[in-house]
């Protein structure tokens, strides 16, 4: 019964995505409901703490990944947060660079396979972000893929 | 020699002069048919049975269809004259069409259509009518809608054009509309 409720909420929020105000209030309501049920309902869990050189990269990765909605939250759920070295929850207001920071991600999947596919997807996206850091934050300009120079049309 | 025939051109076919004549009290209908069937070239006319004709417009609708088929090279019968007779029919079977709408052995009145084209342009009208009078033993009367009315057999028309009982045919103008539509759409409806 609970799942049906979630679906209704999920569908309900889609209808309201365009009006900012309603999106905000339904979004937060949705998080509250999920936080209580989702994490406990989905049996397979994994938590990763991904280290970044500095807070800027960690929060950048968080921001770049956060807009995309979870396609089937009742099957695969994840939640990110940016944790500084001394594991205090860091939010955007801390402007000065705190040095090594972690992006902590809690995953939960309906089955081990769903969890694995979801986590792989997460890392594929993260890969692009990290490649951007390397390329544009002092990384190497030339690029080689699988040992072959890249030819562009 | 009284000139009581009709001769005319259709706008789309300026090279085909069309001759219409009407005979009643015909006595040699069977001779005409046998000559026609034997392919006697003196009989290169279209001999129509007035029983199935409701108006002159009805006949000309068939002539129009025959000429458009010939222009497109898709005539179903051998000659333009037989095509005119066949074009009177709403159904696709040639034999049935020629039988129902061509003059019969026992026909006592015949509507004759003659086309003049290319080299045998109609030189002199009297000469044409004389030749025709020799072929048809009967009285050549002035051809008009009112002359056709007494010769029409409405029941035969209803049968030949499969017109349901509900549709009454007393109004000849309405009948002509329905019939010329049917023959124009032969094979397409």
């Amino acid at each position: 019964m609970l799942d049906a409720a979630h679906k209704k909420i999920r569908v309900f929020t889609n209808h309201f995505t365009y009006s900012y105000f309603s999106q905000f209030c339904f979004y937060s309501f949705q998080i509250a409901v999920f936080r209580i049920t989702e994490m406990s309902v989905l049996p397979n869990k994994l938590t990763l703490a991904i280290p970044f050189q500095n807070y800027r990269h960690a929060s950048l990765a968080y921001k770049a990944l956060s807009p995309d909605p979870l396609l089937k939250p009742d099957q695969f759920y994840m939640e990110m947060s940016v944790i500084s070295q001394d594991s205090a929850l860091v939010d955007d207001k801390h402007e000065e660079d705190i040095g090594a920071t972690k992006l902590v991600v809690e995953f939960a999947g309906a089955s081990d396979r769903v969890l694995r596919v979801g986590v792989n997807g997460f890392f594929e996206s993260l890969g692009v972000i990290v490649e951007c850091f390397n390329a544009f934050d002092g990384g190497v300009l030339e690029s080689v893929v699988d040992g072959k120079p890249v030819v562009f049309e | 020699m009284t000139l009581n025939h009709l001769d005319l051109y259709l706008p789309q076919f300026p090279d085909s002069q069309i001759f219409l004549t009407l005979y009643t009290n015909v006595t040699n209908a069977s001779t005409i048919r046998s000559n026609l069937l034997s392919g006697n070239t003196k009989y290169s006319y279209a001999f129509l049975d007035p029983k199935s004709i409701v108006s002159i417009s009805h006949v000309l609708a068939a002539v129009y269809r025959a000429l458009t088929e010939r222009a497109a090279g898709s005539m179903r019968t051998r000659t333009v004259n037989s095509e005119i007779v066949f074009s009177m029919s709403p159904s696709m079977s040639i034999g049935d069409g020629l039988k129902r709408f061509g003059s019969k052995d026992d026909s006592t009145s015949i509507l004759v259509v003659r086309l003049f084209e290319d080299e045998d342009k109609c030189a002199d009208v009297t000469q044409v009518l004389t030749a025709l009078d020799e072929i048809v033993d009967g009285d050549r009367i002035p051809i008009s809608d009112s002359a056709i009315e007494p010769l029409t057999d409405i029941e035969i028309v209803r049968k030949n054009y499969k017109i349901p009982k509900g549709v009454q045919l007393t109004n000849r103008e309405e009948a002509t509309k329905i019939i010329s539509g049917a023959l124009a759409l032969r094979g397409y409806i």
Binding site: A64, S66, P67, E124, V128, I129, C132, F133, S143, V145 | -
Partner: protein, 368 residues
């Protein structure tokens, strides 16, 4: 909600980088717009600083799947951005905004490129601009060909639409009722096992040129719309018969070949497209036709559209493969036009949508 801040028309040059990846072509382009010299003169032509593309090619007989396409885009997008920057010689700071295709298209590929766009926009601290793929094609076509207010035929692997401008929207006049023209051609290419390199459509066109016999196919135009799936099913059946041993013969007795099938498919489908385009032109009273989208490179389609347009006292406009095939520069161009009218896409709104209708976009930069 995408926000629109009030900005006056820019007096200085503006530069945008555009990222496109809605289908199997990944493109990055950098474009520069110049301000209008004075109030009533036209804006000078845009300058293309770089426009590079890398296509995900699948083996013959196979289509491209979203997951694999997204994997391809992820592994090349950053390199393309670097290459484009290097080619344009533009320092990152001179770029005014980062534009990306927000839809329509395939979900995973769109998202993979959007993530890259968000990242560089955050890293370079440049505003993000979401662009409708089709509006990108139209604006680029107008810019390159100079067609002022054409009826647009947008034909690609994923879309088939006839579009006309009215009241600051691109209105959809007619569209496919099922699959897109490009999709139909690509899938028939698979049936014939025609190679996908450089593109199935291109290879079908080369075969069609050698076709001699026209084979009758279903012609399915319904008012202003077209339907393709019936034709595809019919010609697939024909092809399977012919290559399954049951040869078919033209009226002159010679056998129907692959070339004849490609030729007949093109003649039928393109005739349908020209017909609905002509109907839209008659309806809005326009004499210009602009063809955009991958299938727009097909010279037979351009030729047929040209004959129709000339018969109506008008002309056809088309672009070469640098622009009519999916590319990054069109996204940069349309994005910059929107940017210059104050349009911005916030991070929360930068989610891609597979269904993004052309007429949803408000064209603030047009007021004709």
């Amino acid at each position: 909600m995408p926000s629109r801040i009030q900005v006056p028309e820019p007096e200085r040059e503006t530069i945008a980088i555009g990222l496109e990846g809605s289908a199997n072509k990944l493109g990055v382009g950098i474009i520069r717009h110049f301000p209008r010299p004075n109030k009533n003169s036209h804006r000078p032509p845009a300058q293309i600083l770089s426009n590079i593309r890398h296509t995900y090619i699948t083996p013959p007989g196979e289509g491209f799947l979203p997951r694999d396409t997204a994997k391809h885009h992820r592994s090349y997008v950053v390199k393309l951005v670097q290459q484009a920057l290097k080619q344009s010689g533009i320092p990152i700071d001179d770029i005014d905004c980062v534009c990306f295709t927000q839809g329509p298209g395939m979900g995973a590929p769109l998202q993979s490129v959007a993530i890259a766009a968000r990242t560089i926009s955050l890293m370079w601290d440049k505003p993000l601009v979401g662009v409708n793929h089709c509006v990108g094609h139209i604006e680029m076509g107008r810019e390159i060909t100079g067609a002022t207010n054409p009826v647009v035929l947008y034909v690609s692997g994923g879309n088939t639409q006839v579009i006309a401008y009215s009241h600051q929207r691109y209105r959809i006049f007619g569209e496919t009722l099922d699959i897109a023209v490009g999709n139909c051609l690509d899938r028939f290419a698979r049936t014939l096992h025609i190679p996908n390199d450089p593109s199935p459509g291109y290879n079908i066109e080369q075969l069609a040129r050698k076709g001699k016999h026209y084979v009758e196919l279903p012609y399915t135009v319904k008012g202003m719309d077209v339907s393709m799936s019936g034709i595809l099913a019919f010609i697939d059946g024909l092809a399977n018969d012919i290559f399954g041993g049951k040869a078919k013969y033209a009226d002159d007795g010679s056998e129907i070949t692959r070339e004849d099938l490609c030729f007949s498919l093109q003649e039928t489908i393109f005739a349908m497209l020209v017909e609905i385009t002509e109907r839209a032109m008659a309806h809005v009273g326009s004499q210009q036709v602009l063809i955009v989208g991958g299938v727009g490179c097909n010279e037979r389609l351009q030729e047929m559209m040209g004959i129709m347009a000339r018969d109506r006292g008008g002309a056809v406009y088309a672009t070469d493969e640098r622009f009519c095939i999916d590319n990054g520069i069109m996204i940069a161009h349309a994005g910059l036009l929107a940017y210059e009218t104050g349009y911005r896409t916030s991070l929360e709104d930068s989610v891609c949508t597979q269904r993004f209708r052309t007429d949803e976009v408000f064209l603030a930069w047009r007021n004709d």
